[in-house]
Every structure is written in C-alpha cells, then in structure tokens.
Symmetry: C2
Subunit: 199 residues, 2 copies
C-alpha cells in the first residue's frame, strides 16, 4: 500500500479550497488516499513571525487571482465579506470525525470548504459546523461537545505544531513521500509526480 498523501491546509485559505475540490480524485487515480490535515494558519504565522497578507498589494492581487483561478478550474467561489477570519471549529471537527470514522473526514472537509467558499455559510460558527457534520451522520450534540473538549482543542494545536515541524509555512501544502508542494497551482506537478514517481 502506497503512503497516504498529506494535505495540509487552513479552511480560511482560498487556495486550500481550490485544492480540496480536486485532491481526493487526483490521488485516487494513482492509488493513493489523502490524509486531511487542517491547521491554524494564524497560529502558524505567529510562531513563524510572518504575516504575508499584511501587504496591501498582495491582498489586492489575491482578490483578483483567487476568483480568476476558481473560474479557470470551473469551481464556484465567492470571497466572503468576513475574509480573512479564523475558522477553528471545522478544523477541530475534522480531527474528531477522522477519529470516529476516517473514511468520512475528507467528505466532511470538502463540504465544510464548500459551505464557506461557495455557499456563504458562517463556518466559524460551531452550530454551522455541527449541521454539516450531521449531514455526514454525526449527532449535532456530540459534535458541539467535541468542539468544546480540551483534548480536541489540544489535538489541533499539536497538528499545527506538527505542520510547522514538517516545513509547512502556508496553505495548502501537499506532501507526497516527503516531497513538498505548495499551492493549488501545483496540482499539475502533483499529478505528474504521482504518475511518474518523480523527476
């Protein structure tokens, strides 16, 4: 069995969303599964002493590039008025779901990304996250309890530390057998890498 592919992302990342729409099918074409690994990009930037979006020019560019890249991929996307904002609840929920039923983590992740980036839902709200999880078979009350559980909170902190230790400094990163790829614009290289074994 080939190693899983690690998909590191923050739900608040538009390029993470774009990658999320393609990564599972792409991996499956090459006999791989994807391990969804959300982290908190705010905490990561803080630890790295780095604030890339503080550049006004960079933000203006992203607001041009993100919708253009989405349209090029045929992906529905509307930048929420509240962007950027911390999206902690869906990241906690994903790890809790993965521990209950690993097969459902990716489907929940795709649905949560879509809820925020395409459907205008308030993904920072635990009630919204519980609603999405309920559509994948989890009791809302259990999800809400998990989101407030210290062990679940600590898990996400540990995963953010693990991402930093793996050399991650943005979102998304896709890691194949130790090879790092940064950005949804590396999907073509990733497909080629999986098809050829690297170059």
């Amino acid at each position: 069995m080939a190693n899983p592919i690690d998909f590191y992302f923050d739900f608040s990342s538009p390029y993470g969303y774009l990658a999320s729409t393609a990564i599972d099918a792409l991996a499956a074409r090459h006999g791989r599964v994807v391990r969804w690994r959300p982290f908190l990009i705010g905490a990561l930037y803080k630890q790295l002493g780095y604030m890339p979006l503080e550049q006004p020019g960079k933000r203006a560019y992203f607001l041009q590039d993100v919708p253009r890249s989405a349209r090029a991929m045929g992906v529905a996307l509307t930048v929420p008025a509240s962007f950027p904002e911390a999206l902690i609840a869906p990241a906690r929920a994903l790890y809790w779901i993965a521990d209950q039923d690993p097969a459902k983590a990716a489907a929940f992740g795709r649905a949560a990304f879509r809820a925020y980036w395409a459907e205008g839902h308030k993904l920072a709200d635990p009630a919204v996250v519980a609603e999405i999880a309920a559509e994948h078979g989890f009791a809302k009350e259990a999800v809400l309890a998990a989101l407030a559980d210290q062990a679940v909170k600590d898990r996400l902190k540990a995963e953010t530390d693990a991402a930093i230790a793996a050399g991650i400094f943005g979102s998304p990163f896709i890691v194949i057998d130790g090879e790092l790829f940064w950005g949804s614009d590396r999907l073509d290289q990733i497909e080629k890498w999986l098809a050829t074994g690297g170059w």
Copy 2:
C-alpha cells in the same frame, strides 16, 4: 495593434528566469510583444517593508521547488551558490539596450538570465554583462559607460517605483491589459487568457 504585455522581474528571481524562457514565444503565438521591465526586488521589498525570504522554511522549500519546476519545464537551472544576491548591472543594461534598439532587449534579457541561472556566470559583474551585450552587437566600452551613467541608474530606480505603483510585489509579474498574473506558474492561465480574451 494589441497592447504589449508587461513582464516585470528581477534577474535574481528563479521564477523570473523560468518565465523568461517561455514568455516571448507565448506572447507571439497571440500576436503580442513583451515589454521586459526589470526592477530591483531588494529596493521594492524595502519600500514595502517586506522580506519574504527571511523565513527559513520558505527558503528550504524554494530550493526544492525551483529545480523541480525547472525540470518539469525542461529548463536548465542550477541555483548559484551566491543566491540570493543583488543583480543590478543587467537590469540597468537592459533599459539602456531597449533605448538603443528595442528589438534586442528581450534577446539580451533571455541571455542574461541564462548566463546566471544555467551557465554559472557572475551576472553581478559589469564586465560579464558587457560581454553578454557585446554578443548582441553593443560595444563593451559603451555598455560599461552606460552602467556607470547616473541617468541609467535613475532610470532603473524610476522603473522600480513604477513597478510598485502598478501593484507589483514580487517576481515575476506579467500584466496583460491591466490584468496581473504573479509567478511562472501562471503561464498556463496567461496562455488561456490571451487565447480567449479572459474569463
């Protein structure tokens, strides 16, 4: 006559080099010419208060991604031991050449990029730059005099300011009729944009 495409870059930028190997032919396929517009990325970052490569993780990633992206494009590239370093002389020379004979600016630019990124030449050295310019029909003495000319120095400063005013914050940027594209990894979108008129 369609507008020229603006190609903003610093010669010290590996992604600028990758784009330089493709941009003229790509533009020509769609009836466009490329206006080569080098700027000084160190001066730009200083004015923007921004030092992206100060992140050790980012640098380590670039040293993995740059050669991998070059191999994916079939482009010869060896990261020089002296990277990153300021490459001022070739940028000044390019504007001087463009003023003498606009048709030769792109050919000089491609040769200068290749000299540094593929052939191991010391492109920071005015003598090396004069040598490359000589291969394109310019007298070495005239090139060396131009490199020391205050008007040529001021021209490059003004072009760096113009790049900042145009919203540029990295290298390369390719601008088509006011639409900004950042990075050699946007060449596919650029080709599609020129073919379709945008989306």
